[in-house]
């Protein structure tokens, strides 16, 4: 049993790793063999060298961008959950909020970054956090609202039969039923928050995050360095995605998918 599970893990892990290694090897061979100029495409070895030489720099920049994304994600998700709860309970608010939520969902959020920099000053991280928060809001709101509405009739009748108060019914049935939806919303929102926080840096603000460093490295012909920061951005995105996926799995325990 244990050995079969272990071999299943191997089967899941080994092919993508082998594929990734082969891809990087092919990339290296192509860049070296065809003598590609570094401004077109630096070799993986050059990128790795940059990472190896400046791990602290990439780490600090990742913390800044990841921190902004995290603050935005948490704030956006909290507002979304509270508003979804209110919208699920009060029909009028649901109708009032629907067009605003639709507008937020289609708004190119990073486009408001320059406006926010003038509002809060170019030295502030707040505009980036706001951008990440707005990006995170819509998926969490929509998913949570859908989850809150999906109470099975039999569970509702059961609560009536038990003479449960509305608050008891909410706590026993509605909220636990909505949790997996909430967290799959957070999972989607996490990637959006990282991308938004990163891209918001392209429009100004303090030169400390991954996005700012990618643009300045590229502008100063530091192509391998720019790619090294991109690697940092990929890792930040992965961490956010996997952490929220883990949360979603944890709260979905014991349910039919």
């Amino acid at each position: 049993m244990r050995s079969s599970r272990l071999s299943a893990v191997w089967r899941a892990v080994v092919p993508p790793v082998v594929f990734g290694v082969l891809l990087i090897a092919a990339w290296q061979a192509f860049v070296v063999g065809a003598q590609i100029k570094p401004f077109l495409l630096p070799a993986p070895s050059a990128i790795w060298q940059m990472i190896h030489q400046n791990p602290g720099l990439i780490w600090r920049a990742s913390l800044v961008t990841g921190g902004n994304a995290l603050v935005g994600l948490i704030a956006g998700a909290l507002v979304a959950v509270v508003l979804a709860a209110v919208a699920a309970a009060v029909r009028v608010i649901d109708h009032l909020s629907a067009p605003i939520v639709a507008a937020i969902a289609v708004l190119p959020i990073v486009a408001v970054a320059p406006v926010l920099y003038t509002m809060f000053g170019a030295g502030s991280q707040l505009p980036r956090q706001i951008v990440a928060g707005i990006a995170a809001f819509a998926p969490v709101f929509l998913n949570t609202l859908r989850g809150l509405r999906q109470v099975r009739p039999i569970h509702r009748e059961l609560m009536t039969a038990y003479a449960a108060t509305p608050w008891q019914a909410t706590r026993a049935v509605t909220l636990p039923g909505a949790l997996p939806h909430l967290f799959s919303g957070v999972n989607v929102a996490a990637s959006l928050a990282v991308i938004s926080a990163l891209v918001a840096e392209y429009f100004g603000g303090p030169q400390t995050g991954l996005g700012s460093l990618i643009t300045s490295a590229a502008a100063n012909s530091g192509y391998a360095a720019a790619w090294a920061y991109v690697v940092g951005a990929i890792i930040v995105g992965l961490v956010f995605y996997l952490a929220t996926l883990g949360l979603e799995r944890a709260v979905s325990r014991g349910r039919v998918a």
């Binding site: 569970h155 039969a161 038990y162 949790l179 014991g254 349910r255």
Partner: protein
């Protein structure tokens, strides 16, 4: 206030309005259930048997007539938690373990944690699921889920158990085993049971009285008293006895007595 009847249904009608049409689900139905009595409601789909049960449970209100439970209004009986209920679907909460599902009504009515634990252990033993306390509903078979639902319905030792085709979705073998268990449980707990079914052998095996209903409008056509012996002595042997067959035949004739003109019913569940 009289406690003479567990359930007293007096000249009850229930009319549903759907668009411009109205459907009379129940028409002038009267019925009493004594404490500790096992009564089955049987009839074709659309005869209003589920509707009648929902009126007793106060999940629906009659258009005319009165329903009283232990001498109170149905609503008061629901608020006082005088009945336990089980539906055709188990309706367990998928994020709760078996034990936590059974504990749900106790939690909602603020039973102390220690009392809750011992009662849940008792109920798990009663329905034979001691080894599954920590399992989640989706890890159980349909029959096991239904046993959990029945344990949940019994959690607060109700004097009245309302069951709406609880074995309807089970296979025949599981179903017969569950029936034997239910007969034992109702004898042990002394609770009155109102049991909705459309299976004749099931009604006969379980009941002290079988109420035969006809559709459109839903009416009680016959009430058949059964004397198949005390519940505790009912077992697999009973299913093969001539008394059992005679009773099954009696109920069948009562059901089909209306002649061949029985319309194809509409589900009103």
């Amino acid at each position: 206030m009289s406690d003479a009847h567990a359930v007293q249904i007096d000249a009850v009608s229930r009319v549903f309005a759907s668009g411009r049409r109205t459907v009379t689900a129940l028409d002038d139905v009267s019925l009493t259930v004594a404490p500790g009595e096992f009564v089955s409601l049987i009839g074709p789909s659309g005869c209003g048997k589920s509707t009648l049960l929902r009126l007793v449970a106060d999940l629906d209100a009659p258009s005319a007539g009165t329903v009283s439970v232990f001498g109170k209004t149905a609503k008061q009986a629901r608020l006082d938690q005088d009945y336990g209920i089980a539906f055709q679907q188990a309706g367990l909460l998928p994020w709760r373990t078996v034990a936590a599902n059974i504990a749900l009504p106790l939690e909602l009515h603020k039973a102390p944690a220690s009392a809750r634990r011992s009662r849940v252990a008792e109920l798990l033993a009663l329905v034979g699921l001691e080894d599954f306390a920590g399992h989640y509903p989706d890890q159980l078979s349909g029959g096991m889920q239904q046993r959990v639902a029945i344990a949940r319905a019994l959690a607060e030792k109700p004097r009245l158990l309302l069951m709406d085709e609880p074995f309807g979705a089970l296979d025949e073998m599981t179903r017969e085993r569950m029936q034997t268990e239910l007969v034992r449980l109702s004898a042990e707990t002394g609770a009155a049971v109102v049991f909705v079914t459309h299976s004749i052998p099931e009604a006969v095996f379980l009941s002290d009285r079988v109420v035969v209903m006809s559709p459109r409008p839903g009416r009680v056509t016959r009430v058949i008293e059964l004397a198949l012996g005390p519940a505790a002595e009912r077992g697999e042997r009973l299913r093969e006895s001539t008394d059992f067959y005679a009773a099954v035949t009696a109920v069948r004739e009562a059901l089909h007595g209306e002649g061949a003109a029985l319309p194809v019913g509409v589900e009103t569940r």
